[in-house]
């Protein structure tokens, strides 16, 4: 009777009190699952969009325009050299470029004609192909060409000019940066909302059992004896709910992965990826919210009183 407390473990007491009220468990877990699934879906969306954004930025390629004197052979050779130096992981980190390609003048004109679409007729007025031979460098995802790289390329004798991403792409980058900030703000609010939902659920679970808590208090239980089972209950519920929510989001992604076309050549199938960070983040969020909610909820429930 006078042995140290905390022997009839808080975990086993948490499991007992969960079994005593299965209905409450159902309500709590569904609520948490819905809340976490919403965050999970949002998080997945953001991760995917960020991925898409970095793929867009890849499109912001570099065009190395060859000097008039340089022929097809020089172009091919330059492309081969650049492939070797840029597309392999270097000592300082991953590869700079995803692809390096030589495009000769004729190829470039054909492509230009295609891009002009219905305006292609315009090109018929041309006496001569005005386009130069060029090497196109597509940067690796997340990489953008630095000024010293551009200077290095410009210094090559066979290079006339280095053309960087077209201006609208840098506009897109600005926009995606400000969208990214908005997404962070929204995400933070969403996160706070879910912490609130989880702690409300914990507090309701405690409120439902307030008679039992009063009894424990009256027979001499220490606050910690009362608190830990509730915290553990919240954490267990949150873990279950985060697993369910992850499954839900994953299932949703599978359904959405129907073939579909996105602008700028992006494929919905690639876009709708479900990285492992999502379930991990949900679990972390759930456990944090469970612990915080449990501690706050029980703290409050244990110390109002006055009337029995």
């Amino acid at each position: 009777m006078s042995r140290p407390a905390r022997r009839h473990g808080p975990l086993s007491r948490a499991l007992v009190q969960m079994r005593e009220d299965p209905w409450l468990q159902g309500v709590a877990i569904t609520t948490l699952t819905v809340a976490l699934a919403i965050v999970g879906a949002y998080f997945t969306l953001c991760l995917n969009l960020r991925q898409a954004g970095s793929e867009l930025r890849t499109g912001g390629a570099l065009m190395v325009v060859m000097a008039d004197g340089a022929g097809i052979d020089e172009g091919r050779q330059l492309a081969a050299e650049l492939t070797a130096s840029l597309t392999n992981p270097g000592p300082h980190g991953p590869a700079e470029a995803a692809e390096v390609r030589f495009v000769d003048r004729q190829e470039a004109l054909d492509r230009f004609r295609k891009q002009l679409g219905p305006h292609a007729g315009l090109l018929e007025g041309l006496e001569d192909n005005p386009l130069p031979n060029a090497v196109e460098i597509f940067m690796a995802p997340g990489k953008s060409p630095g000024p010293e790289m551009i200077a290095r390329l410009k210094a090559l004798p066979e290079v006339a000019e280095v053309v960087t991403s077209r201006p609208w792409l840098s506009g897109l980058e600005d926009a995606s940066r400000s969208l990214g900030e908005a997404a962070w703000a929204l995400g933070t609010l969403l996160f706070l909302g879910v912490v609130l939902l989880v702690s409300n659920t914990v507090r309701l679970a405690i409120y439902v059992r307030r008679d039992q808590l009063e009894i424990l208090d009256l027979v001499g239980a220490k606050p910690s004896y009362v608190r830990w089972p509730f915290v553990l209950e919240a954490v267990i519920q949150a873990c279950l709910a985060s697993a369910l929510a992850s499954a839900l989001v994953w299932g949703l992604m599978q359904i959405l992965k129907t073939p579909g076309q996105l602008p700028l050549g992006l494929d919905l199938g690639v876009l709708l990826d479900f990285p492992w960070t999502v379930p991990a983040a949900l679990l972390g969020l759930a456990v944090t919210a469970g612990v915080l909610g449990g501690l706050l909820g029980v703290g409050r429930a244990l110390r109002p009183k006055g009337v029995s």
Binding site: R3, A5, H8, D211, I215, L218, V219, G220, A221
Partner: protein
Amino acid sequence: MILLTKVGKRYHDRPQPTLSEVDLRVPAGQFLFLTGPSGAGKTTLLRMLFAAESPTNGSVRVGGADLGRLKPSQLPLLRRKVGVIFQDFKLVGAKSVFENVALALRVAGGRGPDLVSRVEEVVAQVGLNGAAQARADTLSGGEQQRVAIARALVGRPPLLLADEPTGNLDPGTALEVMRLLVQAHAQGATVLVATHDPKLLGLVRGARVVRLAEGHLHEERP
């Protein structure tokens, strides 16, 4: 053991104070009956002895400690030394009889075979051995009352407070229960029983009887 000095209690939503200037000294090892009409303040007075209620005036000392000065962390330790039979039982409806009784030991760290045998012993003493695994909220009124009694007795507390412990019991069972309280008293516990039942007063030889009425305490049988 217990010393109330000029204790007053007024609930904020009541026009009259429930207790006024109550002085009471209960030496360790006494058996005391607290009587008085319904609403006299018997429950209020008992609740002050384990700091479930605090007096508006005056001081309450139990086992040497001034309850008004008790640190929150000391409260559980005090309560483990006081066995209370609540007038409304205060059982955990979803738990079994066994677990309700065991609760009083578990909160103090009790476990293992010692706990099991002690709980079974007390449950048998109150005549509920057949129902040890029944959920408390399926019990009859008298059965619930006996669970409450068992929980108060199980830790052999030095102070026992019984609030109307036989209100739901037939005379035979009531007698058995009173015997348990007398037995605890014989083993050294201080016992306070709040009751309306004049029959109980005769059951305990040499017990002191005090009566609460209109906020004041009167010695009836010293």
